[in-house]
Subunit: 321 residues, 2 copies
DNA sequence: GTGAAAGCGCTAACAA
DNA sequence: TTGTTAGCGCTTTCAC
């Protein structure tokens, strides 16, 4: 339609070769008239970018995750990327599935996803960003790490309770139906442990509430601790949801919050604002984190070697402390 | 490696032509050994399925949406589909972006997404499933509709309040920074209006709390209604988040819940369980809905003409009613 | 029953 | 400065 070869069209659209002004204009005019769009698939096959980013995660449905994805989408769309969401599966078939897609980059935020598979993904040559909620001791720095502030954040939680005179803390681990409980590689749990140690607070297995497969079990587990004679004057939840369950258990056991027991959550999700008493929590800088993920991946895709990043959390104090 | 032509490999992998048993086995052995995976991109370019489903939504970050996506992923993965998430944008560029991707199917759940663009997507030949939270009066039945029970669900909310002797209701619309408030095409709002009419309950503009751009405004708006002399003994929130804001406003104004005013939410999200008093809500059958979305799309992609589907909601009564 | 070859829509080396 | 052409990895027609 523009009376030029395909080559010229390609040059104009990619803007990577000089093309005579008049031809360039004719091409652009034809593009408009025909609503022409280069076929992303053909482009990818030819070895160009697919403009496709994959987010592998183990908890697609929580609020924190949803907000991160929402923020990522805003930035990604402007850069031309499409984001796909995929729950992790621990097998080679999964890695193989992913590899057959030719995605440009992968973000991983999956506590239970085996490092072996992470390494396979990296080895296939795709840029990988690790959204750090746990350690990856065996993964080298071919993968860029983004620390969202979990470690320092949870330490700050402990310090806050300490400053309120609390010394007998309980840590509330996640609920999981599939046995995915926190191990020492979990950044929140390890941060909690180190801070307890640094602050010289007593920490033993019975202060680590874990292994629950549903809310009811967790509720009962917290009550059991409180009624066992164990001294408890503070509770740190790994996230707001867990803290809320613990909070309701505390109240049900007849303890006052925050007079008898202080409770603090993590994530600053909507729920923290609406429970009674309102839950103190730690806010993550999600917009900045989301932006860093996309920007970092974008740089890696362009062949750069961006460095790891760390973000700070912000204490949102409410009534439970 | 198997000593056969590419053709035979293709036949074996797609299982669509007879291939001699020994060759078939050699191919399969080579596939295993080489960890061979057909390149999805090349396959798509050749005109086959991309096994890629796009979910266009206007509220990626809420809990309801996250759970739907999580359930969709489970089923989609088993069928070989990858799901991408994309916030809607109201312009042709957006449609064009989507079209250049050659996705197999599109799910749309976006209250403010212009029907014009939905039609453009349909016209481009991609199967489209509409996750109904509003009407699409101008879209024909080339798009398959999945009703999640919003209309009947919200009617049941009104009926429940009515059965509790409540007749002076307030409807709490969404909060939006971009002016995306409910219009008559919104299934919850229209369902509420029709039920109010059927039940002969008074409904006027002042009972429709809308136009708020943040929680504080909504809180104030509810208080203003309560203090204006308007008689109010029941509140219906379009979702749990809105109901919670209203609930806190009600309590702040010194009214008792449920003695003076009953409150009901929608979605049965976690928050409804943890506010005080615990919020009565309406649960959607998310696993079934998610399954229906993928199955329907899968059928359409295979060339079938599945029919619209409707799901039921379930009342979860707690303390606010 | 199997292979050769064309072609999906694009990019880029090379030639002109 | 632009056009011809090969080729990305696959599927499928057609011929044998």
């Amino acid at each position: 339609m523009a009376g030029v070869s395909e080559t010229v069209v390609s040059y104009v659209l990619n803007n990577n070769r000089y093309v005579a002004q008049d031809k360039r204009e004719r091409v652009l005019a034809a593009v408009r008239e025909l609503h022409y769009r280069p076929n992303t698939v053909a482009r990818t096959l030819k070895g160009k970018k697919s403009n496709h980013i994959l987010f592998i995660a183990d908890n697609i449905s929580n609020e924190h995750f949803g907000k991160i994805v929402e923020e990522m989408d805003k930035i990604a769309y402007d850069k031309g990327y499409l984001i796909s969401l995929l729950a992790d599966r621990n097998d080679e078939e999964f890695v193989s599935q992913v590899n057959s897609r030719l995605v440009d980059g992968i973000v991983i935020s999956a506590t239970g996803f085996d490092e072996k598979y992470v390494q396979m993904l990296i080895d296939s040559g795709v840029p990988v960003v690790l959204l750090m909620n746990r350690e990856y001791p065996n993964i080298g720095n071919e993968a860029v790490r983004i620390y969202t502030g979990l470690n320092k954040g949870i330490r700050d939680c402990v310090k806050l309770l300490e400053s309120r005179g609390r010394r007998h803390l309980l840590y509330i681990d996640r609920i999981s139906r599939h046995g995915r409980f926190s191990k020492k590689d979990d950044l929140r749990f390890s941060g909690f442990c180190s801070q307890m140690e640094e602050s010289g607070l007593p920490f033993s297995a019975e202060r680590f509430v874990t292994g629950c497969t549903n809310e009811r079990e967790l509720f009962d587990a917290v009550c059991a601790r409180l009624n066992s004679g164990l001294e408890v004057d503070g509770i740190v939840g790994r996230n707001d949801d867990m803290a809320c369950v613990a909070l309701s258990a505390v109240l049900a056991c007849g303890r006052r919050v925050p007079e008898d027991i202080s409770v603090i959550g993590f994530d600053n999700s909507r729920i923290s604002n609406y429970v009674t008493p309102a839950l103190t929590s730690m806010e993550l800088d999600r917009p900045a984190i989301a932006k860093a993920i996309i920007t970092t991946l974008d740089e890696m895709i362009a062949g750069g070697k961006p460095s790891n990043q760390t973000f700070d959390t912000k204490l949102i104090e409410r009534q439970t402390t």
